[in-house]
Symmetry: D2
């Protein structure tokens, strides 16, 4: 079987596994108050050029998203997000379960929110019978593989500042976004332009783990207590620190992401050469080919993938193929050979 | 340094680490829908003699406690627990954050709740201006190392059935309880007598992981959705399954617990021989010696431990010493030598 | 000033005020456990031909909506509603504040949800990473004055039964809906076709008060406790019962609603005669004329109304004019005279 | 029947009822944005000597308590309260339903919290695995009729300031407290010494209504939105304003409270003269005589009262007798005659 279902089918890069094993017998303090977390946080602060940033480690994406949002907001405040955002469509109502209303806005096929949308939607909420929008949630990369440029982030950041909105970036696939072709955004840009962002480890070489970066530590007040309250504190917290240390050593994190992108893009080119087109333009590790329905039964036998939805024409289906740090060139070439030339 | 601060200072037993590493490149499905979780669940069902039980895996104790409680209860329902229960005293208001009121009852120094307490407290809550008690939370072993006997669990179970209360057992230290000297309780007893219980991996040889066992699967309705909603679904869920597989192979889980108990009991006997007494009687891996305050500064230099509170007399302090799978006889003997004979 | 801003500008019909005053010195038991509430509930059960129905009284619409929804649902369950539904657009995130996700569906200009929409949306939510839809919220009449016919309600009810969804009808303006021209729905139909519905008093002659009717009393389990918990139990609960007794005596409730409709429809006809058109077709007590923007400044000086939004063409605005039990023919005729013939 | 069960058995003082009736046809704006609420708020600001205070009106005590607490706190923050406090014992877990943990402290028979208790309890919560105490809830008068002196409030206020805790006073029976014999506290003292307090109307002459006073308006940020969200905004909000206007005109509010106290104290003296003693010393409108059990069956036939709990000796019961604005001297004298001289 070719495994292109997602980017969390393989556990961890060998260097990450070794770091975990190495730490096993050290006898570390619990809950993230340990030298590994401290060192990993320092590496992230350096990368972010944000020497005062609060950096903490969470186990998974849903957990870090709703915990951070709940930590930042007051009960009457709501969240602008793209309709296709992970918090809206894939987290089983996690944000609402903390009591906050999501205010989804339609986004284009690239999954990106535009500042004009926020400016247009905001005035409605001056009506005090509604929640007050107070945070904008976006993802870098988006659910459909889109990547915000620096100019786009700067424009979003500006409108957020103007309207007194926090800007939160879900970086579950941050590595793939930042290493995608043409992307001019750095971790330091995120620290400069957002109120909080995550650096995803789960989908990029770690067993599990998302780093939450809050450039202004004042905003992190009470964060540990709410992490604990929401079940997000790992007893053996250094396991997260040790993994991020490994990922952030010698640029491993970005190398793995670059590899994932390269594999997906090679698959995309190969399919394009064979005449297939794509539902969304994606420069990252997820691609969305449009297939004639009759190809699916055969494909399912040899490849794990996800059905994304109906294609633009009757008889077509959009599927998602995802590459990860564990995908090989042989996987790509092997899979390509099963596709006919249209 | 002698490390007796807690039982989560060492990452994982080598066999567990190997299982994780072995699974790394397998390409497993996500979210716990994989062969490792399936097999680990089957092993647990067998151990529990509960062939229909719903078994799922969580990352940590706080997370499994509040998610299960929130899954079982309606909004107007509350939870009886010992005042010293982990949900009441160490989880940053996690149960209340799901909207449910805890109704703490005083427990003895062994941390155990007695059926008479529940029967005595229940009638008050027939007043419809109060929450309706619907679940009893206990721990096996308790926070102070106490262990319920089979007869005690049967009596609690009977009163719960009579009063239409769920019985939930937090088994963060279940291994140490069940292997403690004189304990006549088995996993199958728990499955027979409770509505849900956990089997703790974090404090007994796993990187992380608690198994939630719900003997009647009807009670597990909606459980995956609420797990996801509360951030408790691990993307690479098989990591939990693989660890429990390792722990449940050839009785490793119970061997590790037995070892932890033996180390702690040896320390306890040694201290008793030197004339020290103990705040709570504990047959498990946590012991609570009463020390003269003047010993503390010296002890802190060579040993990691926790101050539990003031001792029974002025000038005394109760400390907690915890042994784990990683504690050696040398650790115990070495530490003992630093204690004077009283 | 002509008062057409809403239907809660006048306190209460004289007979309702008298009933309140009469009850003042009686010395009633608190919290709704009194003869007035009992009698009012009996009158409603009779009207609903639902002899076992649970009937309770709430102070306001937001309160009864979210309390009932929170009482009915488990934490992982969500709510289908029209995008324009009151719970989604006018209640400051009240349902989300109870932890439940709303799943808004687009509705036509009449504000009505159609069974096909529910059937089309439902399958997506078989994905266990999403909330499970479990309740359909609709309003009778809708926010834009629309009224469901008996056939429409039967079709909705059928799809709800098929998909295991509760059907909840917000009847804040139930009187106006049921007495509107051409409406073939009765209170008994609602009891037969829904799981719960409200009978609004606030907008139809009461100081305040909404009756919640739950035809199958098994669904009302725990209701009083959650009412209390959400601040919805009035200490002097009989005040609500006494008002509903007055409203339900000799058909006063329906007479007031009929009057409100008549006044609004007269205004609508008058405006139509003058050449104005309307944003939504409304047979009830709210009408939505489309005005040229230049009329607004003058109108604001003599009439209280609400701006609903931009009209279909540039330079036009939709306004809302609402009649109530306190609106007189003189009000209508007087206001009409201020409108020019187009 | 003599009605001494509670202080909400009679609807409203005639002047309050008249104010409501008078306002009925005025055509007021909704939701509390009306001249009556504005005027009532101004009267309260004057009484409180707090010209900038935010004053808003709620329907009931549970509602105002949890809404204010939820508005003030962040998710990881908890509430010190007396174990006997209304929020802990009579509100069906309302505060916990907003996600916040109550941290009950034992109080004396007078129901009063002492600053030393707060100082002693606080340090425990520096442990970041616990919630952070951030608000102290007390009642004036307490559940057992106790009244804080000015010196006691000043001491509590000082410890709250020192520990960065909000001080919130539940004034459901504020009138009776402030007019009780020997009480040296004024409304202005409350405004000076607390962060928020309520002035209860429901138990002192109003149909319903509690005024929430927040001396520093910065703390009231977002309050209307959360009021709406929690179902606490009355559509016909002026009904609350009009009632408080009536109560605050010519000191009616305090006259009614003084009357309630006088009636209860007369009953207390009469019972004392007959040889009965009392469970708690109460200078307010609630008294707690200790009766031999054999008196109860006879008493129940002629008097509505509440059983408070077992008396200090076997065969004794503590009951609660409450006087209100509607209690007459004849009621008191008549009831007294039914008690034997011991």
């Amino acid at each position: 079987m070719y495994l292109f279902r997602n980017d969390y089918s393989f556990a961890a890069h060998p260097q990450v596994l070794e770091a975990v094993a190495r730490s096993s017998a050290e006898g570390n303090p619990g809950y993230g108050f340990d030298p590994h977390c401290e060192h990993a946080a320092a590496l992230i602060r350096e990368l972010a050029q944000a020497p005062k940033a609060d950096v903490s480690f969470f186990i998974g994406g849903t957990s870090v998203n709703f915990t951070a949002i709940a930590a930042f907001l007051r009960p009457w405040e709501g969240v602008f997000c793209p309709h296709s955002g992970h918090v809206n469509g894939h987290e089983s109502g996690a944000v609402e379960a903390t009591g906050h209303k999501l205010l989804p806005l339609p986004a284009g096929p690239d999954g990106k929110l535009r500042p004009e949308q926020i400016e247009a939607a905001y005035p409605t909420y001056q009506d005090v019978h509604l929640v007050l929008p107070r945070l904008v949630y976006i993802s870098q990369a988006t659910e459909t593989g889109g990547v915000y440029t620096k100019a786009e982030l700067e424009a979003l950041s500006a409108v957020c500042q103007k309207l007194h909105l926090f800007l939160f970036v879900d970086g579950a696939r941050l590595g793939c976004a930042l290493t995608s072709e043409g992307c001019d955004v750095t971790v330091a840009d995120l620290a400069r332009l957002t109120d909080a962002f995550t650096i995803g480890g789960t989908k990029n070489g770690a067993l599990m783990g998302e780093a939450l970066v809050i450039p202004d530590p004042a905003l992190a007040e009470g964060l540990f207590r709410i992490k604990k309250q929401r079940g997000a504190v790992l007893a053996k917290g250094w396991l997260l620190g040790a993994q991020f240390e490994a990922l952030l050593t010698d640029g491993l994190y970005f190398d793995l992401a670059r590899h994932s992108n390269a594999m997906a893009q090679r698959l995309q080119s190969g399919l394009a050469e064979k005449g297939f087109s794509f539902a969304f333009p994606s420069p990252t590790n997820q691609i969305f080919p449009i297939l004639p329905d009759q190809l699916l039964p055969e494909l399912e036998k040899i490849c794990a993938f996800e059905v994304w939805g109906p294609g633009p024409e009757v008889g077509q289906t959009v599927i998602r193929l995802v590459a990860s740090f564990g995908t090989t060139e042989d996987d790509v070439e092997g899979l390509l050979q099963h596709f006919p030339t249209k």
